[in-house]
Amino acid sequence: MAGVTLDTVRKVYAGNVEAVKGVSLGIEDGSFCVLVGPSGCGKSTLLRMIAGLETISGGEVKIGNRVVNQVEPADRDIAMVFQNYALYPHMSVYDNMAYGLKNRGTPKDEIEKRVKEAARILAIEPFLTRKPRALSGGQRQRVAMGRAIVRKPQVFLFDEPLSNLDAKLRVQMRVEIKRLQRALGVTSIYVTHDQVEAMTLSDKLVVMSGGQIEQVGTPAEVYRRPETRFVATFIGSPPMNILPGTVEGPGRVSVGGQSIAVTDMRDGLTPGSAIEVGLRPEDVQAGGTGASSLSMDVDFVEELGATQLFHGKVAGAEFVVQASTGQIAADTRKLTLAVDPANVHLFDPQTTKRLGRV
């Protein structure tokens, strides 16, 4: 087993397009690290550089204690699961899993032992003689994971492995990947644009945007204390509401003339200066009363079953509030929102950085 260390890794494509702009990251041995971000944020490029499928333009990638910048993918002791599975269509499931071992000159009985073992873990034993085309999407996904497992690599790399599956299967496979990673204890790096996958799978969540890391932390940390406005609106569903506000004084901001208290606020902000106030739809209490509250004009309601989403405007800005079904009448036009000072996030309008306590 080994951890992965990235030191100011850069990727510059022809035409001076910088896809990854100096990323430094330490991934501990045995942990599950998820790279998440919108498409084009450089997460896949980063993963492919770790895999050795892309050359590294600058910086250093280490697997364990070994710098692998110039090492062939086959010699990096990694295994990768691709989005479209990339199974060899002309080989049986058994041969697909055995191919990498065969190329390494592993003895036949050892190959058989490992493939059987992986097939047992993944419950694909009945399909070993079939060709990939005779399998369903979920089964192919398992074979692709089996191909990674039999190699007993130092690091697993997953490149959006679930995005070709339907929603139900995706949830099921997500749980299985997590369970498998726990059981095997192999360092894993997983790329996705789906924030639910990112939150549920990761020990370490890395949010990326524009070729740079926005924030690294546990899913709870990233959710509870987003470091930038981008992270705040990217993680969480529905996304965090951002309202324009002004600083009133220590621990107080005003939004459209309504004053609210804030727990996590940087000292020394100039009263009267502009600030962005972030509130999660699930963190404000619709219809509540309290020391700080906002009033909202409701436009329409979305039914989600257990909860309802009220869409409308607060101080002229779009706002969404989540409430338990039945708590508020659906035809309500005006809502009072109670705001817990601990749940208010403040961001600098210029730098978009969090203005919390240092």
Binding site: A51, G52, L53, E72, P73, A74, I78, A79, M80, F82, Q83, N84, A86, L87, Y88, P89, H90, Y99, G100, N103, R104, R133, R147
Partner: protein, 282 residues
């Protein structure tokens, strides 16, 4: 779509039947002619029902040939033709699959240029470059050899193009997966590309085998010994005799024999590549 137009169907089938008749009738006549003796054909008494001379004619054609004309047994000519056609077909496949592999999967300077040069040779069929090709083959002492028959014809832009198009449809991830699985370029070629290309290879083999089998001008130029004659040239020579009567029954038997290998190749390989087309899923 539900279609129920009996008259329309009738017209369609009639047209098809007419087409088949036009193509098949001369072939049938050739077959019938190969079952009569020379005299019956010459005096115009040949009927459309096969006669009883088939065993004699086919035996003579295959093993003795027209002693009075070229003096070469058609069996020998068929062997020559078969070696040439196989050589051309297999050579073309080998050359074009390798060059397509290079053009698609390797990043070397002037890759595009290389591809376009190959592409341009499409405009230069054998007939256009026949004099320089002849000169080279003659200088290398390859006249009257199988190498001379085969080698100049195996460069194939069509094949390269076909394989290139096919390789472009293979997802990049497959290459990446085999890189991670520790397969180098050649192993990827051998273990993944070739097995996936079987249907393309089969299709190309059919086309190129027939192309090679039907070569006329090139073998005519470079073979002088009668032992190197191919069957297509053999037929031609049987028809142009100076002093003696053309042995039509032998000529027709030869024609029927000349048709057989391409027909067999089509029938056999077609099954393979239709099966492949239905089964392949990438």
């Amino acid at each position: 779509m539900v279609e129920n137009r009996p008259f329309g169907n009738f017209i369609a089938y009639l047209t098809l039947a007419l087409g088949v008749f036009i193509v098949a009738f001369p072939v049938y006549v050739a077959f019938v002619a190969s079952t009569y003796d020379s005299a019956t054909i010459s005096n115009g008494n040949m009927s459309l029902i096969p006669g009883d001379q088939a065993p004699v004619n086919y035996y003579r054609t295959l093993f003795e040939g027209t002693a009075r004309t070229s003096g070469q047994s058609v069996g020998g000519m068929m062997v020559n033709s078969f070696i040439m056609a196989m050589g051309i077909a297999l050579g073309k496949i080998l050359i074009s699959i390798l060059s397509a592999f290079a053009v698609v999967y390797f990043n070397f300077p002037f890759r595009k240029t290389a591809f376009w040069i190959i592409f341009i040779t499409l405009m230069l069929p054998v007939e256009v470059r026949i004099y320089p090709t002849y000169k080279i083959v003659a200088d290398l002492g390859m006249l009257d050899t199988y190498t001379g028959l085969i080698l100049p014809l195996i460069a194939s832009a069509t094949g390269t193009l076909l394989f290139r198009q096919f390789f472009m449809t293979i997802p990049d991830e497959l290459l990446e997966a085999s890189k991670i699985d520790g397969a180098g370029a050649f192993r990827f070629f051998k273990d993944t590309l070739v097995p996936l290309s079987v249907t393309t290879i089969a299709a190309l083999f059919v086309i190129q085998f027939i192309y090679g089998w039907n070569q006329y001008l090139w073998p005519l130029l470079i073979t002088t010994k009668s032992s190197m004659q191919t069957i297509v040239i053999g037929i031609k020579q049987m028809l142009t005799t100076q002093d003696v009567l053309t042995e039509w029954q032998i000529a027709m038997t030869t024609a029927v024999l000349a048709m057989l290998p391409p027909v067999l190749v089509v029938i056999f390989m077609q099954r393979l590549f239709v099966k492949g087309l239905v089964e392949t899923e990438k």
